[in-house]
């Protein structure tokens, strides 16, 4: 679940201006009325809400969304595999099974277990963490996504799942198959625990995806608003732009062709040289 780990839009705590850095820490704790007349001034931190700042926010949210979607896709595969594991284990729980058939099913189980491990490992999204990868199913720690230009962050929790969901390496006997299915001495079975963990992850990821989508829409809207304000302030371009709807794909494709021609005539690329981490070249490290 996403939890806001820092406050929202408006900074809630006053900070000292650079002019006051020489003041003692006790001065920093005094109120504005107490400090009036003193050289050190307390004031709210200058807000950041320019289009530039918001493009970094949009990037951060898009990266988080990529990690969530990758984990969701992996969860879908794992759910299917667990259903098959249940089928295979049910067959293996039959004491009358002959040796060749048991061996065949055992191989099938091993293959399913390897597939689950592979899916868990593959849930890592490399676009999200400078190429290192972010895995919201198995990472030991959670990660943070910047949600506004003041640097407020939301936490994207990892499910911290075991790499094989606790499934045994093999099912050596009918008794072991029954234990996998039904548990031992009243305890929840490993398979049921695995299914529960994966289902919980799936629900959590769906909520996170929905929330990130809303945050990305908000960040995009605020970016446009900030861009509009800046354009007004600098007398620049009008920002009365609206995202086209999905019905106009053919027209948009034509527009893309026009953009191709216009780009061909440009000596420079899309970005400026000083855009650093916000540039296209910073992606996929």
């Amino acid at each position: 679940m996403i939890n806001n780990v820092t406050s929202g839009f408006i900074p809630s705590t006053p900070t000292l201006t650079p002019a006051s850095t020489g003041a003692s820490s006790t001065q920093a704790n005094t109120s504005t009325t107490e400090s009036s007349g003193k050289k050190a001034e307390l004031e709210f931190r200058a807000g950041r809400n320019s289009a530039k700042d918001y493009s970094a926010v949009q990037q951060s949210i898009a990266k988080g969304k990529g990690a969530v979607e990758s984990a969701q896709a992996a969860t879908g595969d794992i759910k299917e595999s667990l259903l098959k594991v249940r089928e295979v284990a049910t067959k293996l729980a039959d004491d009358s099974l002959d040796a060749p058939e048991r061996e065949k099913l055992q191989k099938e189980y091993s293959s399913l277990r390897s597939g689950i491990e592979k899916s868990l490992e593959g849930a890592s999204y490399k676009g999200a963490d400078g190429g290192k990868g972010l895995n919201l199913l198995t990472d030991k720690d959670s990660t943070k996504v910047t949600i506004n230009s003041y640097g407020s962050q939301s936490e994207l929790a990892s499910s911290k799942l075991d790499k094989s969901l606790g499934l045994p390496e093999k099912i050596g006997s009918a008794a072991e198959a029954r234990e996998l299915l039904k548990g031992k001495e009243g305890k929840t079975s490993v398979l049921a625990s695995a299914e529960k963990s994966v289902n919980e992850s799936s629900e959590r990821l769906a909520k996170e995806d929905k929330k990130l989508k809303a945050q990305l829409e908000t960040a995009t809207a605020v970016s446009k608003a900030a861009s509009s304000l800046e354009a007004e302030r600098t007398g620049g371009r009008s920002s009365a732009r609206q995202a086209p709807d999905e019905q106009s794909r053919a027209a948009l494709l034509k527009q893309a062709e026009e953009s191709r021609q216009q780009l061909k005539q440009q000596a420079m690329g899309l970005g400026n040289k000083d855009q650093g981490a916000r540039s296209l070249l910073s992606l996929f490290g």
Partner: protein, 113 residues
């Protein structure tokens, strides 16, 4: 001291390198989209996520008041970015993959020139 001609050549080279590198970023996501068309859903999801990241970045670049592109081109790219991102927000089964590839290919080709 370097001659103005040398400086011009260096600047021109840097500019075209940036453009070519940006084209490679587009080509990379296009390659992923195309090669994962029949791959497991996990790989497709990653390819779509990378495409969104590229277009979100483009949106940020072209809405930057300091962007050097012509206003017409900025506006065109902004609208395209908004449309692509809206398309990617649809459930995977409802997305028009071919259209996403076609639009992105146009931009890659423009940057390759």
């Amino acid at each position: 001291m370097r001659s103005p001609l040398d400086l011009y050549r260096t600047t021109r080279l840097l500019a075209s390198n940036t453009k070519a590198l940006e084209a490679q970023v587009f080509r990379r996501v296009l390659f992923q989209l195309e090669t994962t068309a029949k791959a497991p859903e996990l790989e497709q999801a990653k390819a779509r996520a990378d495409l969104r990241l590229v277009w979100v970045t483009v949106l940020g670049l072209v809405t930057d008041p300091d962007n050097h592109l012509s206003l017409v081109l900025q506006k065109n790219l902004e609208q395209l970015a908004q449309a692509v991102i809206a398309e990617l927000d649809l459930p995977a089964a409802e997305q028009d993959r071919d259209w996403l590839i076609q639009v992105t290919t146009q931009i890659a080709e423009g940057l390759e020139a």
